[in-house]
């Protein structure tokens, strides 16, 4: 009977409830609500002037957008591997995967800055028109979340490297991973919405 009780405490048995800290899920839901509202506002604005939105959408660098999508999806994979690693009990491996995830974040930011530099050189600003207002506003707000996610990954990776997590107690890694996946998920909607959908 004691053995059963111990088994019940393993991470696998806890999986049905959200992994990580419950507080991060409240936070994630709130964040998704913010982005959701922004997307609805975008839809309303676009419905008001479809021609303007379609025209200026062609001015965006779709290749850069696609590269960034691949980077974030890859980053999410790395972070998922990090969680698997710590569940297997290897904190150092976990830290390395997290560092790789952080690396995809760095590349994402670099690509994004390149895009912004192009647009600013072309004289685009928040006041250019409603489409660019949303493009700059939404991507910048998302970029802030990428940076926030990178800070979280860095903190968690450092703790994992020092052996701060174990096979049983690693809620911190799951919490950080959940936030990073949220950043990725939002981009997966943002990218088609801004760059692709006609």
């Amino acid at each position: 009977m004691t053995a059963v009780a111990v088994v019940d405490r393993t991470p696998a048995a806890r999986l049905p409830s959200p992994p990580g800290d419950l507080a991060i899920w409240i936070f994630i839901l709130a964040e998704l609500l913010v982005f959701g509202l922004l997307f609805v506002a975008y839809a309303f604005a676009r419905a008001g002037d479809v021609a303007l939105f379609n025209h200026h959408q062609q001015g965006l660098d779709q290749a850069a957008g696609l590269i960034n999508t691949l980077l974030l999806v890859t980053g999410s994979y790395f972070v998922a591997r990090a969680v698997a690693a710590v569940r297997g009990g290897s904190g150092r491996v976990c830290a390395l995967w997290l560092a790789a995830g952080f690396g995809t974040g760095v590349l994402f930011v670099a690509v994004k800055f390149g895009e912004y530099a192009d647009k600013f050189a072309a004289g685009v600003s928040l006041s250019t028109n409603t489409f660019y207002m949303f493009y700059l506003g939404l991507t910048f707000f998302h970029l802030m979340h990428v940076l926030m996610g990178m800070v979280i990954l860095a903190v968690v990776a450092q703790k994992a490297w020092r052996g701060g997590y174990s096979r049983v107690e690693h809620a911190g890694v799951e919490t950080g991973a959940a936030y990073w996946h949220m950043v990725d998920l939002v981009w997966l909607i943002l990218f088609p919405l801004l760059y692709v959908m006609r």
Partner: protein, 463 residues
């Protein structure tokens, strides 16, 4: 009281209550002037009464925040205050400066006051809520810096907790954003733009950190719930408050000469501002329901729960009412704004200071954990009188505002401002009546501090 130096908070709390009484008296004068324009003219004209009403509010809340910090920080940091003497000296400097400023407002015409106090050197006066003479503003900065030095040194030498860290960030933010009151560009758009960095980023930014920290402290003390749980909620709530509140500044940037995109950002982000306040209601009730002890100070718990509910209604719901740009197009600067302002300031900030006073005062006065049951009963009566009458003040002002929007702005044949004011007088009379009930509650609140009787344990022993 665990640390001797916590006692320095007592004069701050007493002064806060005194200024609160003054604020309400001037509120009643103004309320009457809405319907009897020449009441007390020329001795106290409307603009002067309004200035005293709003400035006294800000000063008593600052007194309350400082008192709360002096009480809370030593206990959280588990060490004596860095310098109790400095805290007492600052108290007298701040009180005398505030008193002299009010005397200046009342005795000298505002323009003369400006000349007397060196407004020519750096013109900062004449702007709503920032009317203080230059020397008063400089005084506020000096007091704030010395206060922050004292508090920061205390935290640095003691235990660092989420609560004292959040409080410290909030207080530093308060001081830093006040510096924008010295920036007064000639361009009136720029002037308003940065004016909101003081006004908005105070009440919908850094003050929310102070509110969150004080509420968390009182909840830990009165419920005995794990610090870890409460701190987690505190982090979630302040993050939400900052995300929505900072960009939410945009709801003040509609049609004042700022770029059009603020209508989008202001609307979207401030529409989400009720969320952290709603989370605060759930959290406060949840924590109280999970309490591990029955704290004898029932009044403090009532104030804490009341703060969460009234902050949500006043700041959250009444703010949302007119925050969307298409709505605000009609409601801007009407009595709807006044309705929101009253309930939000009372619900979020007046009540959190009263919560802290309610928790700390019995200890500061050596009564033990709580005041006598009779005193608490009186205090709870004052809670209900003030809170319910504030709900009515808000509802009457909302009624006035809706009618004002309709007659003056929305209708096909808009009427002139004063013609409309004449027609909404009935609401002003009802507001004034509710104001008198509020004042009665406030008097009862002051009296509750002088009510004796056996304390909780003794009362039970007698029964």
């Amino acid at each position: 009281m665990q640390f001797k130096s916590q006692a320095v908070s007592k004069p701050y709390f007493i002064a806060a209550i005194g200024l609160f009484v003054a604020q309400i008296l001037f509120g009643l004068i103004m309320g009457l002037q809405y319907v009897m324009g020449d009441f007390l003219f020329p001795h106290i004209p409307f603009n002067v009464a309004r200035m005293v009403h709003t400035n006294a509010l800000i000063v008593w809340l600052l007194m309350g925040f400082m008192g709360a910090a002096y009480y809370l920080v030593p206990e959280e940091s588990e060490t004596e205050l860095f310098s109790p003497k400095l805290a007492i000296a600052l108290f007298w400097i701040f009180l005398v400066a505030a008193a002299l400023t009010v005397v200046g407002y009342l005795l000298v015409p505002y323009a003369t006051l400006a000349k007397m106090t060196g407004n020519d050197i750096i013109p900062t006066m004449g702007r709503e809520f920032l009317e203080q003479p230059l020397i008063t503003k400089v005084g506020i900065v000096i007091v704030a810096l010395a206060f922050l030095f004292n508090i920061t040194m205390t935290v640095l030498k003691g235990r660092k907790t989420a609560i004292n860290t959040v409080l410290l960030v909030g207080l530093w933010g308060l001081a830093i954003f006040f510096l924008f009151s010295f920036y007064n560009p000639d361009n009136v758009v720029r002037d308003k733009f940065y004016w909101w960095w003081v006004v908005h980023l105070w009440v919908e930014g850094v003050w929310e950190l102070i509110l969150g920290a004080i509420l968390a402290f009182v909840l830990i003390k009165t419920t005995g719930v794990d610090r870890e749980v409460i701190e987690k909620w505190l982090y979630v709530i302040i993050s939400l408050a900052l995300i929505t509140g900072i960009i939410g500044t945009g709801h003040h940037y509609y049609w004042i000469g700022t770029p059009e995109y603020w209508q989008w950002w202001g609307s979207i982000f401030s529409a989400l501002e009720p969320i952290p306040f709603f989370a605060m209601v759930i959290y406060a009730f949840n924590i109280v329901n999970r309490r591990r002890r029955e704290h004898p100070n029932k009044a403090a718990t009532l104030w804490a729960l009341g703060t969460a509910v009234m902050a949500f209604l006043g700041a959250g719901v009444w703010g949302f009412l007119h925050t969307l740009a298409p709505v605000n197009f009609y409601t801007h600067g009407t009595q709807i704004t006044a309705a929101h302002g009253h309930m939000a300031f009372y619900g979020a900030y007046a009540m959190i200071v009263l919560t802290m006073i309610s928790y700390a005062m019995p200890k500061l006065r050596g009564m033990g954990e709580a005041a006598s049951e009779r005193a608490q009963l009186t205090e709870m009566w004052s809670f209900w009188l003030m809170t319910v009458s504030m709900v009515f003040i808000t509802l009457f002002l909302t009624g006035a505002g809706v009618l004002q929007v309709w007659l003056q702005r929305y209708s096909e044949a808009p009427q002139a401002f004063m013609a409309v004011q004449e027609q909404i007088k009935i609401f002003y009379w009802m507001r004034e009546t509710a104001g008198l009930v509020f004042f009665t509650g406030l008097v009862l609140y002051v009296i509750s501090h002088f009510v004796g009787g056996p304390t909780g344990a003794k009362a039970k022993a007698r029964a």
